[in-house]
């Protein structure tokens, strides 16, 4: 006997009769889950060795049987029948009989395989993914269009806008975001000014650190960083909030009460975000420039006055205004996609999770794409 770490099976076979004749197999001990496979192989070995002409299995000595043991007995019978061997199970106790009755023999057959969809060819896959992306894009656009219409309608009846909610979300997206937006912009300003100063110093062009930073911060980094932070903080929260309301049938309840979920739930969020993100962007610009000034004054021996006047010279009103318009568009995208992903939620909690992720990813993607479009349009507009 090979020694294994497994407990030794505590059942035993007792064989009465001659090879190729009528044989009585008495099983004693415990037939339990752990020994299921051992029992099967021992039984198979017994069948090949003894080749009984007729088999009677006596289980009167079995002390304990669990459902796996019952399964083993049933499989013994099936195996014997498969070999056209007359089989009899005798001396079943009542308890064993009850356990055997629990096993549904038909359910043991593997169910017919569900026809698997043919694995897609690479080209088809590319096509299918493109189609679903396109479809998703169309849905987002449709939703944003609906939002803009709702926004326009609400401005004709400003009394109908839920200003209380709007203020609430302005605080959430705006005021509560001030510390993180300020900190990140300040650090961003510091880093960019420092890195660029290393290069510009070599040419004695210290003062152009101010120009470089002013243009980079106000035109690109301020709006983009703010938008990305708001997407992570608020876009995801909108998706989660609306998604949870979908799951809880709250949106159904709103519809039944005659409210338009778009106006009731999405509009205050979109409006609040559009009002607050441009202000946050200004705030980010300001802190970025402060960061640059710290580097300029401390590291490059510029005076505060010269730094500020150089910053002023490199910027004009058009830059500032266009960046604010841009950030309002970003805000519409962030809040719109957050709400749209929320309304898409079907099913349960896990759908809310994926809606949240997808809201952030899609928002950031669209922010970058829109930013590129703005860069080109603004270039030719000037």
């Amino acid at each position: 006997m090979p020694t294994t770490s497994r407990p030794k099976p505590d059942y035993a076979f007792q064989i009465e009769g001659q090879k190729r004749e009528k044989i009585i197999l008495s099983i004693s001990g415990r037939l339990v889950l752990e020994h299921l496979e051992h029992l099967e192989s021992e039984y198979a070995a017994f069948l090949t060795e003894m080749r009984p002409a007729e088999l009677t299995v006596d289980v009167s000595q079995v002390e304990y049987l669990d459902s796996a043991g019952a399964l083993a007995l049933i499989q013994m019978e099936d195996q014997a029948k498969a070999q056209n061997l007359p089989f009899q199970l005798v001396n079943l106790t009542d308890a064993a009989r009850r356990i055997m009755a629990l096993v549904d023999r038909q359910a043991l057959q593997p169910s017919p395989p569900v026809p698997k969809p043919r694995p897609w060819k690479a080209l088809e896959q590319v096509g299918a993914v493109s189609l679903s992306v396109l479809n998703d894009f169309v849905q987002v656009l449709t939703f944003l269009g609906g939002l803009l219409i709702a926004l326009a309608q609400s401005f004709r009846h400003p009394g109908k806008i839920r200003w209380g909610d709007t203020l609430f979300y302005m605080k959430r997206a705006g005021v509560d975001g001030l510390p993180i937006v300020g900190l990140i912009s300040l650090l961003l300003g510091l880093i960019i000014a420092f890195m660029s100063s290393l290069q510009l110093k070599q040419f004695g062009a210290n003062i152009y650190v101010a120009s470089l930073l002013a243009i980079a911060m106000v035109k690109e980094l301020g709006p983009i960083m703010t938008a990305i932070l708001v997407a992570g903080r608020s876009g995801s929260a909108f998706a989660a909030e609306i998604g949870t309301m979908m799951v809880n049938e709250e949106v159904d309840a709103l519809i039944i009460m005659g409210f338009d979920p778009l106006k009731f739930l999405a509009l205050p969020k979109v409006l609040a975000t559009m009002l607050v993100v441009p202000v946050l962007t200004l705030y980010a610009d300001f802190f970025g420039l402060i960061g640059g000034m710290i580097v300029g004054v401390v590291g490059l021996d510029l005076t505060v006055f010269s730094y500020i006047s150089q910053t002023q010279k490199s910027l004009n009103l058009f830059d500032l205004l266009s960046s604010l318009v841009k950030s309002a568009v970003f805000a519409l995208l962030i809040a719109g996609i957050g709400c749209q992903r929320g309304f898409q939620v079907r099913g349960g909690a896990e759908a809310v999770g994926s809606a949240t992720t997808s809201a952030v990813v899609a928002a950031i993607f669209l922010i970058i794409v829109t930013d590129s479009a703005f860069a080109i349009v603004l270039h030719y507009l000037r």
């Binding site: 309301m245 809880n248 159904d252 309840a253 519809i255 039944i256 009460m257």
Partner: protein, 256 residues
């Protein structure tokens, strides 16, 4: 319940429900009479909730129509739709209270939308509705501070805010203990008898059914449609359909 018997307030005509290419039920037709408590019965997954959502206009039927007081619930006419919606209240299975609002604000929401009442009168009405469902003094609580049974009652108060002539319930007693669910049944009976509100209720609870239902309609998954309609006591004693008898006697039918 005698004179109003011939007065259908809801007419369901040949409704069919389909999700993708899966048909849930076809050709379901029945009527709900004014002032009646009608219970929709059937095994799990046979489409009771779907049927109810079609009746209140949340799902569009694949074919057929639902008339409430003679108006199609899917009417494109905004004014008619608004009037219709004022007349129906719904208690959802998950209560569907708005988590960011207090109970009082939840109940006040439809009042603010559909009426021009002053805040003071709305406040008074809210307190009255909450008292009707035994939630006196809970107006300031948030839904997250309530037990399941309290949420159900608060949802009922909100559904009743506009004194609708029809109330819909999706499994009102699901997840409640027997006593709380009996209390809810009593509340349903009281509202029905004192306000004459017509009620359409989806439920599995046999006790509730015999207690509150004037009439039942029974959906079946394999038949994909209605298999019985009538007084539950009568059906229990006299139905010849084994599926109906099995359901009422809580017997497991033959394995399918």
């Amino acid at each position: 319940m005698t004179s109003s018997d011939k007065n259908p307030i809801i007419v369901v005509e040949n409704l069919t429900a389909r999700f993708g290419d899966r048909t849930i039920f076809t050709n379901v037709s029945f009527q709900v009479n004014e002032g009646e408590v009608l219970v929709i019965l059937g095994g799990s997954g046979c489409g009771k909730s779907t049927l109810m959502k079609q009746m209140i206009g949340l799902y569009r039927p694949a074919s057929g129509r639902v008339l409430i007081k003679g108006v199609d619930i899917n009417t494109p006419d905004e004014v008619q739709l608004r009037q219709l919606r004022m007349q129906i209240g719904v208690l959802f299975q998950s209560s569907a209270l708005f988590g960011s609002m207090t109970l009082g604000e939840n109940v006040a929401l439809p009042l603010g939308e559909y009426t021009d009442l002053s805040p003071a009168s709305i406040d008074l009405l809210v307190r009255m509705k909450l008292a009707m469902v035994n939630l006196t003094g809970s107006a300031e609580l948030l839904p997250s501070e309530l037990s399941g049974g309290m949420k159900k009652r608060a949802g009922l108060a909100r559904a009743m805010a506009l004194d609708p002539s029809i109330l819909f319930f999706d499994e009102p007693s699901a997840g409640l203990d027997p006593i709380t669910s009996a209390e809810l049944d009593n509340l349903i009976k009281t509202i029905n008898s004192s306000l004459g509100t017509t009620m359409v209720i989806v439920t599995h609870e046999l006790e509730s059914i015999f207690d509150i239902a004037h009439r039942v309609v029974m959906l079946d998954k394999t038949a994909k449609g209605l298999i019985a309609e009538g007084d539950p006591h009568y059906l229990r004693e006299h139905s010849t359909d084994p599926r109906v008898v099995n359901f009422f006697q809580r017997r497991v039918g033959e394995l399918k």
